[in-house]
Symmetry: C2
Subunit: 239 residues, 2 copies
DNA sequence: GGGCTGCCTTGATGTGGGTCAAAAAAAACA
DNA sequence: TGTTTTTTTTGACCCACATCAAGGCAGCCC
């Protein structure tokens, strides 16, 4: 886990910019922002480097500056279950701050990334001076809880086609033209859906053959979101 | 959701006792405890009464005083997925405090219960004056997160034999002689394990043929819990 | 007794999807 | 540019499990 040293002034300015954009710190008075920038540490990760492992005592929580961090568990059978992929501006591992048992999962960079480590002690200190921060952290954790809860929902959706439809419908809503751009590889998406890249490939092909979507590299175009949703409802209907 | 009015003085004393025992408030100075007791509201629930439903705007978070509250989701296919059963002293729905989308799940009393509603506004106010409370709430949420994460682990325990072994080992621990008495039919157990009664029957038969258990009606006798556990570990080992 | 009605068990069959293997396509690198 | 490396796609195969269907076995009540 190498950390690249950089000219402190430039670094500081960049950091403050990043912090200002993160929902965790937006609205924090400039002077506090500088304080925060003073105690955070930038960490550079190469692809597949681990940021932390399950059970390790918590050093603090993290803010993704660039790249993508895959948070996952390895279940007793040795299979990796993706919990969430965090991208720039998102914060992770808040849960570990107040937990005696260390990090609850593993975190690994899916691509070269830089992450800001926000050490535990000064952060807890800052909460005392700026209680609003606690609220934001609660908010952020409640979002994570929601992610987990929705994963549970997804996992109880039986077949891969249904899970993929669900994913497509959900993500097509975030765009206006129904064109979804994958940020990671398809293998990562497959893992997120709890399947293999082969099966994902086949399922996408099936939907393409039925003219419901078109796929080109990392771009998936949803032709008719309504139709997909109808198909999803239909799949759920018989159970 | 009827709330029973009671003599204010006695009520107050009882409340403060409850609060002092809850990990959320233990250690809070007596005067603050009184403040809290002043703004919380007791709610009495009959069996199967709902405390809140998914999506409802948050009134605040809750502390179970007596009884048991089942927090669950209903997934798209209409199946109810239990997230956790909260019992006296535990707090729930902290996540809803900082979330714009209301409660993330449903909560229903599994038996007659009394719950303390801690209204949102004054609680947020108290956090400002006593930041340690925020930490405790973070801690409590991180515990909830862990529960969810361990549920994920269970759901990914792939085959039925493994899930059944897991169930047997867990339940055999609650008895001294290793004899488990089913409370529902085998079909219900099958549903709990996420399989069909036929497959459960076959799997039980297999374990019986290997002399690991014996089955007679609603009674399952585990001959050697250690051996089952070893088998479970073995199943998990290769994958 | 002889019919019901549930639950459990066993057999036969079909299929979703995981895995191995290898070709095809894209990206990365020299 | 060609060459390696990674990703994606396809094909072949297999297995765990759901599902359908047919008996056993109880406990019922008439």
């Amino acid at each position: 886990m190498p950390s690249a040293p950089r000219p402190p002034d430039l670094k500081l300015t960049g950091l403050i910019g990043t912090l200002r954009c993160a929902q965790l710190f937006s609205g924090l008075p400039a002077e506090d922002l500088t304080t925060v920038a003073g105690f955070i540490q930038a960490v550079s990760l190469g692809k597949d480097d681990y940021l932390f492992h399950e059970g390790e005592p918590s050093r603090g929580c993290y803010l993704v500056q660039s790249g993508a961090i895959n948070v996952h568990r390895v279940n007793a059978a040795g299979k990796e279950q993706v919990i969430h992929v965090f991208r720039s501006g998102e914060s992770l591992a808040e849960a570990s701050l107040a937990s005696p048992t260390g990090y609850p999962a593993n975190a690994r960079a899916v691509e070269p990334s830089t992450v800001l480590l926000i050490p535990k002690a000064p952060l807890l200190d800052l909460i005392g001076r700026w209680p609003d921060l606690a609220l934001r952290m609660l908010g952020s954790m409640s979002a994570h809880l929601r992610v987990l809860v929705s994963m549970l929902d997804d996992l109880t959706l039986k077949d891969v086609e249904t899970r993929l439809l669900n994913w497509l419908v959900k993500h097509a809503r975030d765009t206006q033209d129904g064109v979804i751009h994958l940020r990671g590889t398809k293998r990562v998406l497959a893992a997120e859906l709890g399947t293999s890249s082969e099966t994902l490939s086949r399922t996408l092909a099936r939907l393409r053959d039925e003219r419901l979507i078109s796929v080109d590299g990392k771009t998936i175009a949803v032709h008719d979101a309504g139709q997909l949703a109808a198909m999803l409802r239909h799949n759920l209907g018989e159970a």
